[in-house]
């Protein structure tokens, strides 16, 4: 635990972290890019979830939707992780005490785990059920879990700024 505190302090004291924390314009710009990238990640994830649930893009095959949107999701994720890492470094000590920041990290892990389980299990057999009118229960549960988790990530992320 002490190691983690020391790490946050070290990260916080790095010259680029200090520059970001003190700059009047850099922080808002990086934060804006973070929010827009998050929109791309959660937005494309939500569309795949809604396609699984039959609520959007009904005329397009699920595999086509998933394959074409995944590069957008990963591209957005890379930008989100980079900007998120920079934002964290600039306030590492403060954020490490923020319960909503920790909750957001746990939720991100949960979202990743849920996606991984979905792809490793029921999505492997997608060719069997893709043409069916309703996706298997396991796929629908994964889609609903994903939508709920990303909603919670956004709520937790926004409220980080309101909790001290």
């Amino acid at each position: 635990m002490n190691l983690l505190v020391d790490f946050c302090q070290w990260l916080n004291d790095l010259p680029p972290s200090q520059t970001l924390a003190e700059s009047e314009w850099a922080f808002p710009i990086v934060e804006s890019v973070h929010v827009l990238a998050l929109g791309l990640v959660a937005g494309t994830v939500a569309l795949v979830d809604l396609r699984v649930l039959g609520l959007a893009l009904g005329d397009i095959r699920l595999t086509a939707v998933a394959r074409r949107l995944l590069p957008l999701t990963w591209g957005g994720f890379a930008v989100m992780a980079l900007t998120g890492g920079a934002l964290f470094a600039s306030e590492a000590v403060k954020l490490s005490h923020n319960p909503l920041f920790l909750l957001k990290l746990v939720l991100l892990l949960l979202a990743g785990l849920n996606a991984w389980v979905f792809h490793a299990t029921v999505y492997r057999r997608v060719a069997v059920w893709e043409q069916a009118p309703v996706a298997p229960a396991q796929a629908r549960v994964a889609a609903i879990t994903s939508l709920a988790t990303w909603t919670a990530i956004i709520i937790a992320g926004r409220f980080i700024a309101y909790v001290h």
Binding site: L36, G43, L72, T151
Partner: protein
Amino acid sequence: MLENLFRWLGATPVGLYMRDSDWGFASVETVHLLGLTALGGAVVVAHLAGAGVILRQSSPAAVQRGLRGFGTGALVALIVSGVLLVSSKPIRYYLDGAFRIKMLLLALAIASSIALYRAFANTDAPSPALRGAALLSLGLWLSVGVAGRIIGFL
């Protein structure tokens, strides 16, 4: 006249609640952010499919038709939550340059998206000009988001 409308909005019970409540603004702002995420996904996919960047095997019209319900729902949530946010400090927003620019860009983005939706629905082979227009319209939506973020800093 427009200023009176903003003034009236701030004096309604909802406006007074949004002004005085500690968590009202934060909660509605979060709903606004969720709506932005949902609309962002639909807008990016609909426009990139129109531009021929993704989902090339499907017709842009089919992609856009499949996103219409979800995207419209997200836009309605954004507008309702946006009006609530404005009602908390209507005159501040009314006088804010970034807010005025955002509203102008928003009107343009909605109009261009509806026009593009109709144009793509009427063609099986979109022209390069129509595909380029989809990219421009996407840029318009991006500028709405950036202008919105700037409002928060002023």
